[in-house]
Amino acid sequence: MATKEPLLKVEHLSKEFPAESGMLMSRFAKKVSAVNDVSFEIYPGETLGLVGESGCGKSTTGRSIMRLTRPTAGHVYFEGRDVAKMSHKELKSLRREMQFIFQDPYASLNPRMTIGEIISEPLQIHGDGRTASERNKYVRELLDVVGLNPEHINRYPHEFSGGQRQRIGIARAFALHPKLIICDEPVSALDVSIQAQVLNLLKDLQKQFGTAYLFIAHDLSVVQHISDRVAVMYLGKIVELSDWKTLYAEPQHPYTQSLLSAAPIPDPDIQKSRSRIILAGDPPSPIDPPSGCRFHTRCPIAQGVCSEQQPEFREVEPGHFCACHFAAPFPIKESSIEL
């Protein structure tokens, strides 16, 4: 996979929001650094999982790639073209290739449009050259593909369950056969039983259409289920990026390791016997991020250098990137865990 040209290339992407919007003081207002110097690549047809806790900048990264918010710094290249420098016309053609699936299946569908209108809207916008009846037929096919009853084409979103609504959102995203879909926590609002169905649907559609996903989630098990590679974010930075097998088997960043140790294992014997890394405190405020390594305030193996020098995001082994001064397989030794 890595031999191909990347479909999407994100370079040093940063996004800051003004923290206090004062009318007069806006120039001196504090900034929330939501995303800070994030770089990664997505190859055609693969899934990159992006995990991290709430507020770490996962969604902002996704929205900046789509240019739903303008990044403060950095570049996003889609098939080599810089998204930030695109004209209106280019941007419109980009949006044919790149789609978005939203977290909240209730807020992402217009309550006053039938699902037929919702799914055919991207077709109308991009003028697919179909007649009304052809379009109707195509939308019915799409409904069938995502596992909904095509007879329900004239129903309104409020008549569907959360899982079904998410299927409608997926059908809308796939209507134009995009090359990349950014899935912003598409299953986190759903029941666990429905989550698996929707994840399987996304996987199947990927197989059919060869779409690449940027899959944003806060649930490691969900990401494991669908991703080829996984990036872990902490406080606006990517701390570790690797293919998922390596990441889950040999995490090199202490944060990744603590996350993995927190995910429950569905076997009580193993779950009881294994040691868990419990991080102290809450993530620091992104308004005033810690100096040096942003994780040093909570890191069990932090040393003097961590608060002074920002660790480089370096390739610790082929295809495995980590931003830690002490990156090593299992950096946190049993002895260093305080219980």
Partner: protein
């Protein structure tokens, strides 16, 4: 367009899921329904709103058809009666159900023709203020920043004055007469509509489906027309309905103060003004037009209330 069929297990799971929904939705077998249709069926269940709507339609029909039947039986509502001395201020009777006024004119026919003027003022003035309010509110909400600040502070200034006093002052400047009443009430009514519409747009704008439309590459015009407007207009429909009642009241107040509709044209306000001096001796001269105002304004308020409940998408037909 050829699709490989989705794998078996997904189809199965989805079917199980949609059967649940189908059961939940049992009863609505019709494939195509509109939200306005749904709203109407909900409105029909609200008895008070339906009574109000029937009353409003009744008044409107009477006002429109007045020319066809009122003059023949009750005489010209504006002209002084020929035999003024005998027919002045008669008590209600079969011939004159609402009695007659000082000039011997039939009060019922004046109330009916007054309905024409009062309703027209209510609808036209509300129309003017709604259009102004929609434009101002939309600009403030959609463009934000300096436009928002200018428009909303302007609205605050308008709202800082007592409304009736402001209208009276404006009438004093531009002169009285029906058209000026339209203009004064219409122009001065926009700030509250603009506020309601602005906040409706701001809350709708935050919804993911607006972002979804942007992500699809929809133009600004399309986003406003297809996504923002349909979802924020319900509050305006409700507000405008109630506003009609308010405009009728304001017109009555103006006419009562002698600053609105000029005699001999009848409006409900001028009728009360005419009748108030005889409140002790011939109270029907004031009370009956007063009841017309009361019932109509109340009807618009109740209908607005009913519409608000009916237009709420999330209200299920429980």
């Amino acid at each position: 367009m050829i699709y490989p069929s989705p794998t078996q297990n997904i189809g199965m799971q989805a079917k199980a899921e949609s059967t649940v929904a189908a059961k939940a939705n049992a009863g609505d077998s019709s494939a195509s329904r509109t939200l306005w249709g749904d709203a109407f069926s909900r409105l029909k269940k609200n008895k008070l709103a339906i009574i109000a709507a029937v009353w409003i339609i009744f008044i409107i029909l009477i006002a429109i058809t007045a020319d066809l039947w009122v003059p023949q039986t009750l005489g010209d509502p504006t002209a002084t009666a020929a035999n003024m001395a005998e027919s002045s201020r008669l008590a209600p009777s079969l011939e004159h159900p609402f009695g007659t006024d000082t000039l011997g004119r039939d009060v019922l026919s004046r109330v009916i023709y007054g309905a024409r003027i009062s309703l027209t003022v209510g609808v036209v003035a509300t129309g003017i203020s709604t259009i102004l309010g929609l434009i101002m509110g939309a600009i403030a909400a959609y463009y934000g920043g300096i436009w928002d600040t200018i428009i909303m502070r302007l609205a605050d200034i308008f709202l800082a004055f007592p409304y009736t006093l402001f209208v009276v002052a404006m009438i004093a400047v531009i002169g009285n007469g029906i058209q000026n009443v339209f203009i004064a009430i219409g122009i001065l009514g926009w700030p509250s509509i603009a506020r309601v519409f602005r906040s409706a747009i701001l809350s709708v704008k935050e919804n993911d489906y607006v972002d979804a439309a942007r992500a699809m590459g929809a133009s600004d015009v399309r986003i406003v027309a297809r996504h923002i407007f349909p979802n924020s207009v319900a509050s305006i429909v409700v507000y405008a309905t109630m506003n009609i009642g308010g405009a009728i009241l304001t017109e009555s107040a103006l006419s009562f103060l002698g600053m609105g509709v000029v005699p001999p044209n009848p409006s409900w306000g001028t009728l009360i003004q005419d009748g108030q001096q005889y409140l002790q001796t011939e109270p029907w001269l004031m009370i009956l037009p007063g009841l017309a105002i009361l019932s109509t304004v109340l009807a618009f308020t109740l209908l607005g209330d009913g519409l608000r409940d009916a237009l709420d998408v999330k209200m299920k037909d429980a």
